[in-house]
Symmetry: C2
Amino acid sequence: MTATSKSLRLNEDLPLDSGQVLSGVEIAYETYGELAADKSNAILICHALTGDQYVASNHPITGKPGWWERMVGPGKVIDTDRFHVICANVIGSCMGSTGPASLASDGQPYAMRFPVITIRDMTRGLVALLDGLGIAQLHTVIGGSMGGMQALSLAANFPERAARVLVIASTARHSAQNIAFHEVGRQAIMADPNWRDGNYYGEDCAPDNGLAVARMAAHITYLSEEGLTEKFGRRLQDRPDGTKGAKSFGFDADFQVESYLRYQGSGFTQRFDANSYLYITRAMDYFDLAEEHGGLLADAFAGSKARFCLVSFDSDWLYPTAESRHIVHALNAAGAPVSFVELSAPFGHDSFLLDVPALDRVMKGFLE
Amino acid sequence: MTATSKSLRLNEDLPLDSGQVLSGVEIAYETYGELAADKSNAILICHALTGDQYVASNHPITGKPGWWERMVGPGKVIDTDRFHVICANVIGSCMGSTGPASLASDGQPYAMRFPVITIRDMTRGLVALLDGLGIAQLHTVIGGSMGGMQALSLAANFPERAARVLVIASTARHSAQNIAFHEVGRQAIMADPNWRDGNYYGEDCAPDNGLAVARMAAHITYLSEEGLTEKFGRRLQDRPDGTKGAKSFGFDADFQVESYLRYQGSGFTQRFDANSYLYITRAMDYFDLAEEHGGLLADAFAGSKARFCLVSFDSDWLYPTAESRHIVHALNAAGAPVSFVELSAPFGHDSFLLDVPALDRVMKGFLE
């Protein structure tokens, strides 16, 4: 669909949780649908770890449709005939917003000189964008996975900026297991000699092998065991020599699931920057909304007047339903209006991106 | 405790499922306790993926106690005052039995010229060892995890060789998710430039970085989410400069779980060969006992006269209880006597190696 690609350069420095500041920040974003004269119809969609601002328009590198094309458009659940939809690339990422591949003041890429950022820092960038656009209050902020963390962070730290908060398949804190999987990915990248302590920009080779392994490990956590069994089971690939589904007794991708994972890994390296992967996973691991607010999650929402909607999926073992329920209990304790549903879907964590009609109905109801 | 370290060189070639044969096979093994004159008191313990024959004696490289020291010894559950306990390194491994690091007939290490082996091939090696020791029938074959696969394979393919079969935290087939995690590990090893297509023996560097990443990813699957939360949660490391548990806003191991994983990864590389890791994970991924026997698991046990005992753990998400139940149903259909229990333990898949008193009781009862 028709999108407007823009980038906003912030006039003021962005203060960060680390105590550092980021100067000359660019926020790249896409918009869809018209902004009402009273600016009351803006929806901010926050993207996940490896997502980007191309929520409903073709990706400039892969040419593939937007990652939530099924959800955003004229007459769709997030109806662009009615809403002005904004989706911005988070800082630290690599699709136009300031990140480790951007040039520092010395004209060289930041690389690992880029400051470690947090989810709240990403949210600060989004709020600066809203300021730049003159949008005082969003109709709704929406996010799945890491996008949900930003939505929660916005509600907690900038409570007046969103009237509705929709959080899908997310969590208020990263668990030890979440951190562990991310650490495997970071170690895979840093073990790649082409990583060169992050200084691979302008070199012939990027740490693609390490990044692919990181993506493969993460990708398993996005899918359910049942989903993998249904989709691939133990089915074998047809061999290059034409043999139908036989074991090679070698180390080629014999099983379809191996081939699928390799494809996911190598495809990812074409569109994502390894250093951005390090920084964004770090931000997610640091995320603990209660800790930011004195240790009690309910206190994070004490100032909120927003309405909340939480959605989890029964097959999501990355951010299982218990994590959403934990947030709901905190919202209840804070007296915030909240609806919560656990949906049944076979796709694991990735359910929020896939065809789950019940999710459409829940979202449509919440946006009424 | 006192162990006898031995190695048996097989006089005959070992036929493999791939159609190849392995010549001059060595099987390195440890024994504990006296073999009865009628040879009726032998117990074979089969080790897991990264295990070895040092079940109850110090590891020659790490110096650490045997991996099942708590279970094997005088007066212990597997009582060496009563039983003659045998534990052999599987073929394909790296602790003395023939594997990729062994010399081929040309005097050079096999490396990736080593044939791809299966669990049944490992079992053939173990049976050849029993033949060499003149043991016609084991009192019991015992195995956890991959050891359980060998125990099942022995029961199915050599039904007269064991009177009792004890299978703990195991499965009759690798699932798509199991294969996926192993494939991540293999890709991590193969992506390491020091792997050199497997030809790193005698070089200055082995693919330790890749092997460490593989181990880290696998290690997460051995633990439960709850266990990780209990053990580490989001607790931070004390900083090298003495700062107590504060975020570094960098990429050091801030969280205790990161530090633990890194330690697990690097420690593993000191005692294990990367090519062995490739071959053994491949064997596990190929394992599908039903497929070997015409597609019906019950048929695998048609000729068995053994008594079976299956144990699973409620927090094991690598080989969950459903996999054990699947085996039990097949044994029921085959008319084999089987007892089955799901034990409650917080440690995930690794529960079979850790202090779970209920496991001791179940095993003791089965060995009466």
